[in-house]
Amino acid sequence: MVDGTPSGAPGPSPSPSASRGPTDAAPPPKWPPDPSPQPAAPALHNATAAEIAAAKADNDKGVVHGSESKGKTDRTMDQLLPEKPVIKDGKAQLGNLTVEADKYPQFREAMMHESKNPEMNALVERLEKGPYKTNVTTNEVSNNEMEPQMNGNAEVHWDPKHMHVASNDAKRSPATRLAHELDHADEWTHNPQRLITNANTPDDKFSNLEEKRVITGSERRNVKAIGEGQREDHSAGKGEFNSKGVTSAVPVLHQTRGGVTTELADGYNQTGKISVDGDNIKQDIGRGQSVNYPRAEFEGLVGKNAVDQAVAGGKPVTVAVQGGEFKMQEPRAVAQEVQHSGR
């Protein structure tokens, strides 16, 4: 079994006597490496009842194997993911890691951001030097997942456009969501039997132990390093929203007024009664004018119950964006917060 140590990793430093000048020096290892030949598919078996029971027992003791740090590497993300990689067959070739060529700049931006947690460098290096391929393709339909392949490869699907709001309001950028999937790919590449066992072991909060391994492991360290929210479960939560960018956990919200749709900016503030109007939340803002907000966005961020209560209550509410947070509150509450924040 592969132990995850890259074969191209720096070895011990040569002794001073061994160093005789530039002509004797070994050439620096090529990086990113060329793809290695594909080995035979890993020998795997379905998770046995005994293996699942053991994983459950360890989980009950607070141990989720594989949730520890990926370790370190001397290579920076800038070195691991060059600005201009080799492109072949429409894909950026990074050893055994490939990325859709036209989305590679976004992939690179995302992982440069995530490398504030240095173990992400080690993770990318492990994928580039791994025995099997990890192929990253993108979409814009909120499809973020890793699909393990029978032949040992990992197919990662990533949506660089949408961020996620968890059930505890924790917000995660597309970049963090990508790093999550790459951790699954690393597990499949280097420890596939453990992935099978963990994925076959249920967990009430995290769906299964493989999700728990990632969410309570590298993802938690990533969000801490980059200042995003930490979720406490694997649920669909409050939903997925357009993001301001690959590395942004701030949702983009919209309003439509007079037939023109615009993005809500920080400092937005409107007061008036709200009502449900098909796929929109309509807010009457006086003088016979109204503003529409996409209902899915609105209900996702403030909660359907809060919307129902505000509609039933029939009293004016203030809809505001403050510090990237979309809020619906009593008019006085928002006014006070604005005052406190010095605006």
Partner: protein, 134 residues
Amino acid sequence: MGADVSTTVVGNGHKTGIAKLTVYHLGKLVLTESALTGEVLEGRPDTEKFESTDPAVIAEVLASIERAKPKPADGECDARWGLVFSDASDTRVRTLYLNAFGTRGVLDGAPVAFADDSLVQYLRGKYGEDFVLS
């Protein structure tokens, strides 16, 4: 409590004239960044869809739900199975989504837990396995 929920499902099956069962199943092993909702499960291109208007099949599935004794529970499920019961006009009467383990589900929008995995075992035997590698 559990009996109340399952009896409601089965009871309505007989009373409201369920005419069609649609089963949605995502059998392959795929790790999603957040749990799949029933709506997303139904919309995936790789989700298999089985339809039956056979009253015997519908009754059998309803009975298997009753045997699994769904009870109200907190939390969501990572949906891999969807059971949609419709009437003759193709209006949805009941929906049940459940995870690949058969431990958690969402019945008509409300989260439920099951007493055992008998329902998912039954579904696997009839429609296909879970955790299948691509």
